[in-house]
Symmetry: C2
Subunit: 77 residues, 2 copies
Amino acid sequence: MRARVLIRPKQGILDPQGEAVQRALPALGFSGVANVRVGRLVELDIEEAEQLAPMCDKLLANPLVEDYEVQLLDGSG
Amino acid sequence: MRARVLIRPKQGILDPQGEAVQRALPALGFSGVANVRVGRLVELDIEEAEQLAPMCDKLLANPLVEDYEVQLLDGSG
């Protein structure tokens, strides 16, 4: 099945990429944007979905500074 | 409102991060994983949702090599 993992900086952890995006937007003419957080997106085909959590802990995310969320997509992904 | 942007390497575009993850998994004891793609996740509060597409084209994604998908989340996001 196709799975998606959303990886975000933990609440309270500095997010330099998010800050950079937020500061760049007004110069490009965009206003009314706040609380920008930039993280990673991993999508993969996996046979056993229960492997996803240990996989995130060991490789995909850094549990010290990142939270992750797993979404199972339908087979066609 | 809270919005989420999923940014992925386009189909057919080389994804070195995805390849690296896919190769690292067997060494960590994970099997049955294929078609790993690594992209970026941007979440933000925005007042006018119609600004999201031009924002992606101009700043968040590189339209030459990346596709993006916008998801509007509920206010509590």
